[in-house]
């Protein structure tokens, strides 16, 4: 990074003759509001901010306000009822169960998915033969393509495919299990049994996402200079030690990003559930907040109450993101390895 400073490209405040203008330079500050500058502000600041306020911020504020009303969703009329929707929410056992399900999913899905993705990513990039250059397994590009396949399929299609696979009587899974002699799985309802339903749906979500995060990690690992891995190997580090002590710390930022994205997905999960468990699953064990919100709004005609659910979901999601940042900090995210 220091090479830039020693070069003549940006040598201090005094403007290079005919060179690049820099923000903060005296010349720049003097030139007030030229046509260029105004159009620049307009195109890159005012318009996006206006769009953001109109289509992102204002719906948020509106929804937050509606959560304080008894709006049914089908009239222009509504009454302000204060926090009673929230009071109702915290004694609504079905909604609380949905919150619990979502939290469990937000714990299990990121850890398993990213764990697997990391494992595969290191295998196909640096986990190959221990002799010669650091490289991935043989035919690693083949594995990379294969594992990305599920991500190419839309989530709703994945859901529908798996609901057929899980079918108790004509599904592929029970077909295989009974064929190999496990008779107890005859007509076993994977999506209809309290013991298996939530794990079955989580498996589908993980199956669909591992490939994407694997590719994400591969890109990150490829950005790490190969000498680092070579040096580690010369020092006698095995594959596992290399992953834990070299790979993960070096791509920490990517892991954090991945955690946030997949966590948000796990807290939503609406699409997968709409295909796999539209009714909330056995004893509501797979009911998610977004599903409950949807039914409350459109089937029960309680938009105000549904908006309160939306606000709670938003708060939980933000809390989750905050938690991921905090954990990253605690485990040394400050040391700027990633730069």
């Amino acid at each position: 990074m220091t090479t830039l400073t020693s070069g003549g490209l940006t040598s201090g405040v005094s403007a290079p003759p005919g060179g690049l203008r820099r923000f903060g330079s005296a010349r720049w500050r003097k030139r007030n509001l030229t046509f260029d500058k105004i159009t620049f502000f307009l195109v890159f600041l005012v318009i996006p901010v206006a769009f953001y306020i109109a289509f992102v911020v204002s719906p948020f504020v509106q929804a937050a306000y509606f959560s304080l009303t008894d709006w049914t969703g089908f009239t222009p009329a509504m009454n302000f009822i204060g926090l009673s929707n929230y009071a109702k929410l915290f004694s609504d056992s079905t909604f609380l169960q949905a919150v619990g399900n979502n939290i469990l999913m937000a714990i299990v899905i990121p850890i398993v998915t990213l764990g697997l993705a990391m494992f595969f990513a290191t295998r196909v990039t640096v986990g190959g033969s221990t002799g010669g250059n650091v490289k991935g397994l043989r035919s690693s590009s083949f594995y990379r393509v294969i594992s990305f396949f599920p991500y190419v399929i839309p989530a709703i299609v994945i859901g529908l495919i798996w609901s057929q696979i899980y079918d108790p009587n004509s599904g592929l899974l029970n077909g295989i299990l009974t064929r190999i002699g496990l008779e107890q799985f005859t007509s076993f309802p994977w999506l209809g049994d309290v013991r298996t339903a939530r794990w079955a749906v989580m498996f589908v979500i993980i199956w669909g996402l591992v490939g994407f995060y694997m590719v994400l990690f591969i890109a990150a690992i490829k950005g790490v200079p190969a000498e680092v891995f070579e040096a580690a190997r010369i020092d006698g580090a095995g594959r596992f030690r290399t992953s834990v002590s070299i790979t993960i710390p070096l791509i920490r930022e990517n892991v954090q990003t991945a955690f946030i994205y997949i966590g948000i997905l796990a807290l939503d999960a609406f699409v997968y559930m709409a295909a796999l468990e539209p009714g909330g699953g056995p004893d509501n064990t797979t009911l998610v907040m977004a599903q409950q919100l949807f039914t409350t709004a459109f089937t029960k005609g309680q938009f105000g109450y549904a908006c309160a659910m939306g606000v709670v979901l938003a708060i939980i999601t933000l809390a989750y993101a905050g938690l991921v940042f905090a954990v990253n900090r605690i485990f040394g995210g400050k040391s700027e390895v990633g730069e």
Partner: protein, 472 residues
């Protein structure tokens, strides 16, 4: 120059964009609640045309009727047919028929903005809960008091009791068009072949289950989204057994309504069948259409409780020679308050006319066309399902055994026809499905089923924000 010394370091930027991403993703669910602006809904008094016998609602020539029709099992061609009838009768009137599969989601903004369509077929899984919009609907008494296109007063051409399901607190606001008969369906050919008789009580069902088992078949089966078809059968049986007392207790969400003896007897009767293993296992994990095909195509089980739409729904997945026939839902004992022939029948495809629509008269004229002979016969013939208009189905049921049996059951029931609305009215089905799935799969006993259903009922009953409909 060090990159990190910049006012907005790369890492900070990354952090900022992550937070924004988190926000944006959260937003999707939050923003779903927001409106597209609340209009005050200028009450548009429809420009009235000349009211006459041929134009009882004064539809103005040159006006447009905006009809939004649910596109489900019945499609929309029958509505387009009716639209053509209107255009032929009222010169200069255009009917615009728009299909939708999600009524509530599509029309919610239009209701808020105060410009709803003139007539809506409010049906399907995504229907608008009538309770939330019933103040905004026009009363339809004048529609059935008007004369149809053949000159007969419409009221006199309808099956008895068909306006009841559309009447709330004394106001008739929903015209349910398709007549639905709830029954226990079976293949008459299969029964004949095996010498089986249609069971009239739960004990007879249990006995039939044993015989079916002997032939390697199950008695009953279900699919996860349709587990509450068994609730529909159970309530029907309980009402036959205990009469209006049971119906009113349930309709008015009375405490302990699910513990009434007739209801409990039905539950126990079902439980015996489930415990005996006559229920095809795995239903709670099976998509309902797949489960129904196990009945109509594979004949894995022999009886299925459902509504009259079942024939149309399974048209492509019915074994040839499967004489689909309906029988009234079983009673508990032979001395029930209502006879076995009593029928749970109601009308579906609820047509509504919003009072804020631009052309209320046009919406009503559309309904008048639908209730006239041509459109009603067209519906019966193309959908193999009767409308609420009598005498549109010939004796051969257009070649459908299911339709024949529906008409026969209706004739046998006479005036013993009943129905209820509380399940759909308060949107309870989703919650009830959960309880029924565990009961049918054998995981829950009668006590747990009763408690689950009572909890759902009590939750609605105690919630002051939900407007109740008093039924008597």
């Amino acid at each position: 120059m060090d990159i990190n010394s910049r006012p907005l370091g790369r890492r900070d930027f990354l952090r900022g964009s992550l937070a924004a991403a988190a926000l944006a993703a959260t937003g999707s669910s939050l923003a779903a609640c927001a409106t597209s602006g609340t209009g005050t809904g200028a009450q548009s008094s429809a420009p009235a045309g000349q009211v006459s016998d041929t134009n009882p609602f004064g539809v103005q020539s040159g006006s447009t009727v905006d009809a939004v029709i649910f596109k489900g099992g019945y499609g929309i061609d029958y509505a387009e047919f009716a639209g053509k009838q209107v255009e032929a009768k009222q010169s200069g009137v255009t009917v615009k028929v728009t299909p939708t599969t999600k009524v509530a989601q599509t029309l919610q903004p239009r209701f808020v903005a105060g410009n709803p369509p003139d007539v809506i077929d409010n049906s399907g899984a995504g229907l608008i809960g009538i309770n939330t919009i019933r103040d905004q609907l026009a009363e339809l008494n004048d529609v059935i008091e008007a004369k149809n296109y053949e000159g007969t007063v419409i009221k006199d051409t309808l099956y008895p009791g068909v306006t009841e399901p559309g009447t709330f607190d004394g106001k008739f606001i929903v015209l349910n068009y398709a007549l639905t008969v709830y029954a226990l369906w079976y293949s008459a050919s299969l029964f004949e072949q095996n010498g089986w008789n249609v069971p009239k009580t739960y004990d007879e069902m249990l006995a039939l289950g044993k015989e079916a088992k002997g032939k390697g078949k199950y008695l009953l089966g279900w699919g996860k989204e349709a587990a509450t078809y068994y609730q529909t059968m159970a309530i029907g049986s309980a009402i036959k057994e205990g009469g209006d007392e049971v119906r009113l207790a349930l309709e008015n969400l009375k405490p302990g309504c699910w513990s009434l003896p007739p209801v409990q007897d039905v539950f126990n009767g079902l439980k015996k069948i489930i415990d005996a293993g006559y229920m095809k296992p795995g239903g709670s994990g099976t998509v309902f259409t797949a489960a129904q095909a196990q009945w109509s195509d594979a004949e894995d089980f022999i009886l299925y409780p459902s509504g009259g739409w079942i024939e149309n729904e399974m048209k492509d997945q019915t074994k040839s020679g499967f004489k689909m026939t309906g029988a009234p839902e079983p009673t508990v004992s032979s001395n029930s308050k209502l006879p076995w022939e009593a029928l749970h029948s109601t009308a579906g495809e609820g047509y509504i006319v919003p009072s804020q629509g631009k052309n209320v008269g046009g919406g009503k004229e559309f309904l008048r066309a639908m209730l006239s002979k041509d459109a009603a016969v067209n519906f019966a013939k193309t959908k193999l399902s009767s409308t609420i208009v009598k005498g549109t189905v010939p004796a051969d049921g257009f070649g459908s055994t299911a339709l024949q049996s529906q008409i026969k059951m209706l004739e046998a029931a006479g005036s013993n026809i009943f129905s209820w609305q509380f399940v759909d009215l308060y949107g309870m089905n989703t919650d009830q499905l959960v309880v029924w799935n565990s009961f049918l799969s054998g995981d829950a006993d009668v006590a747990k089923l009763t408690k689950g259903l009572q909890d759902i009922t009590d939750k609605v009953a105690k919630d002051d924000s939900i407007k109740k409909v008093q039924v008597s």
